[in-house]
């Protein structure tokens, strides 16, 4: 059985079928990309994976446990965390506080511990702060630790979102168009960082609509269009797949 198994998930909004019977599998330590033209249903897939939406049909199995239709909290606890296509940081909180919020799901001290500043509170709070600093260091944001998230430049905000996701102790990290709005140099750096994450044992699922970004980095690629999975394979296979080319060119034609 695969690490993460998605079987025939379907989501309808009124009459519109946003995601139609999509299946895919992810093995531990892979970088998987889900690509497709704008509006293909990629983000909806993420929303179903992370518990934002209930799924109408199908199953999502992670490490042998079904996680579909669980609350976001349960899913984060199980080890899946995400970033957002349009950055959603806690803008008026400091960089380190953003990461600390991420660690909270694994923070055990109770309200009374914090109220009375018990030893347990102080021990755990310091532990999490150290952990957060380490994460920021690894992503190159330690210098920015005291700044407010809002004041970071765009590229660093994206990185901070990833740092926050890592802080939840996620095993699988879902990245929703992480390179969007970055210049080629920034996005190359980011891809390097994603590779490093994979080498540390994280499993990564990426969403992109720009094929060129994911070609070099992905182990395997799934392509969806109009809510349906139309292709699947190694990057080289996808690049030459007729259906994929048609979906993308067709999309261009419609746009023009």
């Amino acid at each position: 059985m695969a690490y993460l198994e998605v079987k025939g998930i379907t989501k309808q909004f009124g009459g519109l079928v946003a995601v139609d019977d999509v299946s895919f599998e992810v093995e531990k330590g892979e970088i998987i990309s889900i690509i497709g033209p704008n509006g293909a249903g990629k983000t909806t897939v993420f929303n179903m994976l992370t518990g934002v939406y209930q799924i109408d049909k199908g199953e999502i199995i992670f490490e042998g446990q079904p996680i579909h239709n669980k609350t976001p909290r349960e899913i984060v606890k199980a080890g899946i965390s995400r970033t957002f296509q349009n950055i959603r940081l806690f803008g008026n909180m400091r960089v380190i506080e953003n990461v600390l919020v991420g660690t909270q799901i694994r923070t055990e001290y109770t309200f009374f511990d914090s109220f009375f500043r018990t030893g347990r509170f102080r021990r755990e709070e310091s532990e999490k702060v150290v952990k957060s600093v380490r994460i920021l260091e690894s992503i190159g944001l330690r210098e920015r630790m005291d700044d407010y998230a809002q004041s970071l430049p765009y590229g660093e905000q994206r990185k901070l979102e990833i740092a926050r996701a890592i802080a939840t102790d996620a095993k699988i990290i879902l990245l929703d168009e992480p390179a969007a709005g970055m210049n080629p140099q920034e996005s190359e750096e980011l891809l390097q960082f994603i590779r490093k994450l994979r080498d540390k044992g994280y499993t990564i699922i990426l969403i992109e609509h720009d094929m060129s970004v994911v070609m070099n980095i992905s182990d395997r690629i799934y392509v969806i269009d109009h809510g349906k999975r139309i292709a699947h394979g190694l990057p080289a296979e996808i690049a030459n797949n007729e259906k994929v080319i048609e979906a993308y060119l067709g999309g261009v034609k419609k746009d023009a």
Binding site: F13, T43, F46, N47, F84, Q85
Partner: protein, 278 residues
């Protein structure tokens, strides 16, 4: 029925701005007082009410232009606009108190044709007039929103203000116009209801505003027919509560209904469901 007229004002503004206009209750009291003022000038009842409609409508526009429009421009957090309307409500209500005195004042009953026998029950003619006028006004409002050009612009702004402005709709004008309608409907409600109870006081808007708000939410805020239905339900349940539980609980009825509705069906009878986008 009376609540329906006030509720419409909440619905209009909420529909377009997604903002609960807390000042609406005091705008309603303002409308009643202005009508009273002009009645005092011996203008006759109908012209007084018409003048009140104009002035109260303008007050609505002024509220929007001076306090709310700058917030929209700055893209402030929603809570900022909410607090602003509470502040405005404070200002209007207390200014009314200063200029008119906080005591209850007599208001002429202007449609009194005695009691009418309807076979099963005797009904005060004022009540009938109120019902009829309310229905006509609501029908007119609905025609305005659904059939006219400005109504189309209002509905477009409601759907997507940015897109509407790109299509050449003057969004600020539309919002201002909506506030005018809200104010005008409050003035009509104020005059009618004062004519019925024959008293006016600055605090009158507080309770009535709250109950009307409950009615608007019950009917599905943002929906005009919903407001009417909500108003009816609140009115009827209040009379029932007064009859069966004693009059002291009358005023709590609206809130109890409100809380129950919000728990079980927060969108009300006619409200639309929204999908959270991530």
């Amino acid at each position: 029925m009376a609540y329906a007229l006030i509720a419409v004002g909440y619905s209009l503004v909420f529909g377009i701005l997604r903002l609960i206009n807390f000042s609406h209750g005091s705008v309603y009291a303002f409308g009643a007082h202005i009508a009273l003022l002009f009645v005092g000038f011996q203008f006759g009842v109908i012209p007084a009410v018409l003048l009140s409609i104009v002035f109260t409508g303008l007050l609505g526009v002024a509220i929007d232009k001076t306090a709310l429009a700058p917030l929209r421009k700055k893209n402030s957090i929603p809570i900022a606009a909410l607090i602003t309307t509470i502040g405005i409500s404070n200002i209007i209500q207390n200014l009314l108190m200063i200029f008119f005195g906080s005591e209850k004042k007599a208001f002429p009953a202007f449609f009194d044709f005695g009691m009418v026998n309807l076979g099963i029950a005797k009904v005060n003619s004022t009540q009938i007039v109120m019902c009829v006028v309310s229905l006509i006004l609501l029908a007119a409002l609905m025609l305005l929103v659904n059939k006219t050009k400005i109504g189309l612009a209002m509905r477009a702004t409601e759907q997507n203000a940015k897109a509407a402005s790109l299509m050449g709709i003057n969004v600020n004008f539309v919002i201002g116009f909506t506030f005018f309608l809200g104010g005008a409907s409050a003035a009509i409600a104020g005059s009618l209801i004062s004519g019925y109870y024959q008293i006016v006081y600055p605090g009158m808007g507080f309770m009535a505003g709250l109950k009307a708000f409950a009615a608007a939410v019950l009917g599905g805020i943002g929906s005009l027919p919903g407001s009417v239905l909500g108003g009816l339900v609140v009115g009827v349940s209040e009379s029932l509560a007064a009859t069966f539980l004693g009059s002291t609980y009358r005023d709590s009825m609206a809130f109890i209904i409100l809380i129950i509705v919000l728990i079980f069906k927060p969108t009300g009878f006619f409200g639309k469901k929204t999908i959270t986008k991530v």
